[in-house]
């Protein structure tokens, strides 16, 4: 028994190292690659010794903020997806599918319509919108009279709520062309065109969400077999559910406010991680925090390179990467009721 | 008129997993055949194959000599009725309306409710004793009542052959006996029944032909008195037991051996 455990531990540690290495590569690529590719050694030099050249400007004003945002948003979305999948015991849960992103988006648009364009206001609006949407989706599609919600029911509720929110968004964008102009760029989900100040605004909320989320690994493990089992193991399901909801809201709200809605990151990454490590949240959560930014940054790099000199926003790339993953998953394993 | 339902060299599989391979089974006409076996032995799969819900990987299911899969679905539905485990009643449907849907194989776009339909539904509901419940919503009924309503739907189809997949699951014992007694009555009226049951003693009590399956193949078949022996039960189910005559009906009754307790 201990031999198997030791083997599993070695396997997981290897995976951890591997994912960390992948992340490092992604960061390097993110800073080095682009319409104008710079060799890594030059990048390294410019990072620490900015010399006012055009290349230095590219590194410091474009690539570094981009990479930093990608790291932050990726970590947030990966963790929130993992938390949601653990809590709902539903391997197909994704903040985007469950309407959380739409809620954040709708709130941001309301803010834009009311003239609130500063990032700080957007962050709090996004968090609020994400939370409200999550609650509504859960109430509409979630457990009724003690029955556990089927995966499709929650997803359907998410789609319905998203559609309702989008209608409101449409109305507002049509009434005020300025809102449309801001919204259409924001909604695609992009790491470009935002500066590090955004990270400063979003950072505290994100950090709070990350800490809270990671702390929930143990309690979520206990609840993995059901709320009654969790209670027997000394965990308070109501508290855990509330805390997880709060963490997801903070993380999604912050990430969406910073870079716009990014599809499928929260779905694909925890799913892939879980299939390698098993359902132990003490591994799934941290690994998701490391693996998701890698995906986001690699998607961003792909977007820069694929249609050069134009750019595909990272939101489009993650949708095109994530949807086939979802479809392949659904086809391969069937949908558990 | 007898109806021969035969599985001939039948192989059934789900995607890549083969469940039943080269199985032969001739269901005796006008018998009450019961299929038993441990979990995952393939008994439900066999029933689904016989009911044309699962296409054979190889071999065939023959009804009166014709391969069932070459027959039109409606034609099969007029000969073979199936009570599956996975039946859904639409919200708020009344008992009478639900039973009436069993007449579909005999109806068409222009012939939506003939006098024959009326008679068939009335008879089916009378046989299953749900006539008094005709106007009640199916959702409000108890488990036993609901099972009788689904049985009425299948009876309304007026098929000479009935296939039943675990018709007594989720019922308490009184209702189980009620449903099984009803099935015995239907059998006596001349129908051929094939039922999958999980309770060996009930199977032995009601079956005229017992089929014991294990690992996707038939271990033994025949009248329960001949087939159900302690040796067979030990081999197929892994249960040491004694087989004694049922004090009420005389059919074989399986009594597990006492466990040697180490205290």
């Amino acid at each position: 028994m201990t031999e198997t455990r030791a083997r599993v531990a070695v396997g997981r540690t290897t995976l951890l190292v591997g994912v960390a290495a992948l992340l490092l590569i992604a960061v390097v690529l993110s800073v080095a690659v682009g319409a104008r590719s710079l060799p890594p050694w030059l990048v390294w030099q410019l990072l620490w010794h900015p010399d006012g050249s055009a290349d230095a400007a590219i590194v410091h004003e474009l690539r570094v903020p981009r990479t930093a945002l990608g790291l932050a948003a990726g970590a947030a979305l990966g963790l929130s997806g993992a938390l949601l999948q653990s809590l709902t015991r539903n391997p197909l849960a994704d903040p985007g599918l469950l309407g959380v992103n739409a809620g954040a988006a709708a709130a941001v648009v309301v803010g834009l319509a009311l003239g609130l364009t500063q990032v700080r206001a957007q962050v709090w609006l996004a968090v609020l919108g994400a939370g409200l949407a999550a609650v509504v989706v859960h109430l509409v599609g979630g457990q009724a009279a003690g029955r556990r919600a089927a995966p499709e029911r929650l997803v359907l509720a998410g789609a319905a709520v998203s559609a309702a929110l989008m209608a409101g968004v449409w109305g507002l964008t049509l009434l005020d062309p300025d809102v449309l102009d801001r919204y259409r760029f924001w909604t695609v989900g992009s790491l470009a065109g935002r500066d590090l100040a955004v990270l400063g605004q979003v950072g505290p909320v994100l950090a709070a969400g990350l800490v809270l989320g990671l702390l929930l690994a143990g309690p979520l493990n206990a609840m993995a077999l059901g709320e009654d089992t969790g209670r027997a193991l000394g965990v308070r399901p109501g508290v855990v559910r509330g805390a997880t909801g709060l963490a997801v809201t903070l993380l999604c709200g912050a990430a969406t406010a910073a870079v716009g809605p990014l599809a499928f990151v929260g779905l694909a990454v925890p799913h892939a991680v879980r299939s390698c490590t098993g359902p132990d949240d003490r591994w799934v959560l941290p690994l998701s925090v490391l693996a998701a930014p890698a995906l986001v940054l690699l998607a961003d790099v792909l977007g820069r390179v694929a249609v050069a000199p134009a750019e595909l926003p990272v939101g489009v790339v993650t949708a095109f990467l994530g949807a086939p993953v979802l479809i392949a998953l659904v086809r391969r394993r069937g949908v558990a009721p | 008129m007898t109806h021969h339902l035969v599985a001939s060299d039948l192989t059934l599989a789900y995607d890549r997993r083969v469940v039943i391979e080269n199985l032969d089974l001739a269901v005796p006409p006008e018998s009450f055949t019961v299929v038993v076996g441990p979990n995952a032995c393939g008994k439900s799969t066999l029933l689904r194959g016989l009911a044309r819900l699962l296409a054979p990987r190889s071999g065939a299911v023959l009804l009166d000599g014709r391969a069932v899969h070459t027959m039109a679905t409606r034609e099969v539905a007029r000969r073979i009725g199936l009570l599956p485990q996975s039946a859904l009643a639409p919200d708020q449907i009344s008992v009478a309306d639900l039973v009436a849907r069993g007449r579909y194989p005999h109806q068409s776009l222009l012939r939506q409710w003939s006098a024959a339909d009326e008679v068939a539904v009335a008879t089916a509901m009378a046989l299953t004793d749900v006539t008094d419940l005709a106007d009640r919503p199916v959702d409000e009924l108890s488990g036993g009542q609901r099972q009788r309503v689904w049985l009425a739907l299948v009876l309304a189809q007026e098929t000479p052959v009935l296939l039943l997949d675990e018709p007594t699951t989720f019922l308490d014992i009184a209702h189980q006996v009620e449903v099984l007694d009803l099935l015995a009555d239907l059998h006596e009226q001349g129908r051929t029944l094939v039922a999958v049951l999980h309770d060996l003693n009930q199977a032995a009590r009601y079956a005229t032909h017992l089929v014991v399956m294990t690992h996707g193949a038939i271990a033994a078949q025949g009248p329960p008195g001949e087939v159900l022996t302690a040796a067979l039960v030990a081999e197929v189910f892994g249960l040491p037991c004694r087989v004694v005559p049922d004090p009420v009906t005389g059919t074989p009754m399986v009594v597990p051996e006492a466990r040697v307790r180490v205290r």
Binding site: F320, A323, R331 | A77, L82, P105, V121
Partner: protein, 365 residues
């Protein structure tokens, strides 16, 4: 065993109109030609249908009267039957076709929603599941932004995108020839990809073009004329009979895959027919008015509650959808300070509906 079987059988005399089908708790039977032809009908459905139809007529009248150029009631008949002058033009060329188009689009979308809800056995089902609306949106926006299409060509572009997407989703979701829970997730996955493309295209356009595209995306009945109405009537003629056949198949699909097949329904073919019909219906609606949200979701459920029957009826859904869309269009045109596209109003409707769903489920738990 009951002995009055014979009595019950004679309750429906041949040729009698509406002889109570005593065993059909919620229906009556019309028998003709000595019993060779028999049709079932439900009194409540007919009453509800008639009422909704009357409501539709009233709303059409309202649509003809209201507007910047108010047409007094006594002049409406004259305007309809060919009187010259501004009243006649406004009524005949603008308001009447728009109102009829609203009825037609609403009916088409509702039928599509009813079919999807029965196929996935879930009241939250809608044409978005098969990705049609997202594909049509992507096709239309690509047409507007990249090529600058309008009118019929734009509709074709939308339809092309929609149909291609629906086919792709169907093929990916089908398993051993049958649909199942996979449809929802595959549709949403492909839908998300197409949404990303659509919005990305919007960022590549001039603001003015983006606005035009957005108006289409919202769903609008602006400037709908007689050619749109002709299209809708043609669709009704073609799809109507198919819908009748579909209605019978739906009653079995509701009972679950196994029971449906055991009762003699060729399930694979039936599902294909139902999906094709649903896609055709939504295609007609989207071709005329763009992807108007929520009618497909809400109308069938409202119809079901009004008729209080098991399952979702196609006819009543169509009528309810027609009335809902026309009402929404009237509200969108005359209530806000500037006229809004009907899609915004149906979106709000959808929000209210979801809120009501919340309260109802909340009370149940």
């Amino acid at each position: 065993m009951s002995a009055d079987v014979g009595q019950r059988a004679s309750a429906g005399a041949p040729g009698a109109l509406g002889a109570p089908g005593s065993l059909l708790a919620q229906g009556r039977v019309l028998r003709l030609a000595g019993g060779r032809l028999s049709l079932r009908w439900r009194p409540r459905a007919v009453v509800v249908g008639g009422t909704v139809l009357a409501l539709a007529a009233g709303l059409v009248l309202l649509a003809l009267v209201l507007g910047d150029f108010a047409v007094p009631l006594d002049q409406v008949w004259g305007a309809l039957t060919g009187a010259e002058g501004p009243a006649g033009t406004v009524v005949r060329e603008l308001r009447l076709p728009r109102a009829l188009a609203a009825l037609g689009v609403g009916a088409a979308l509702a039928v599509s929603g009813a079919l999807f809800q029965t196929l996935v056995r879930n009241p939250l089902g809608s044409p978005e599941l098969i990705g049609f609306t997202q594909g049509a949106s992507a096709g239309a926006v690509a047409g507007i932004v990249v090529v600058g299409l309008t009118g019929g060509a734009l509709a074709l572009s939308a339809l092309g995108g929609g149909v291609l997407t629906a086919v792709a989703v169907y093929l990916l979701a089908v398993r051993r020839g049958l649909l199942g829970a996979r449809l929802v997730l595959v549709g949403i996955g492909i839908g998300a990809m197409l949404n990303a493309v659509t919005w990305w295209l919007l960022t590549r356009a001039e603001l003015a073009t983006a606005r035009t595209a957005t108006v289409w995306l919202v769903g609008s009945l602006n400037a709908k004329g007689w050619d749109d109405v002709t299209l809708l009537v043609g669709a009704l003629v073609v799809l109507g009979p198919l819908a009748l056949v579909a209605g019978r198949a739906l009653r079995l699909v509701e009972l679950g895959d196994d029971v449906a097949r055991a009762l003699g329904l060729g399930l694979r073919r039936a599902q294909l027919l139902l999906v094709a019909l649903a896609v055709a219906a939504v295609a007609v609606g989207v071709a005329v008015a763009g992807p108007v949200p929520f009618i497909a979701l809400v109308a069938p459920q409202v119809a079901r509650r009004l008729v209080r029957g098991p399952g979702i009826g196609l006819g009543t859904s169509a009528l309810v959808g027609a009335v809902l869309l026309l009402a929404a269009d009237l509200l969108a045109q005359h209530v806000p300070p500037t006229a809004l596209p009907v899609g915004v109003m149906t979106g709000l409707l959808g929000g209210v509906y979801l809120g009501w769903l919340l309260r109802r489920d909340g009370r149940r738990t």
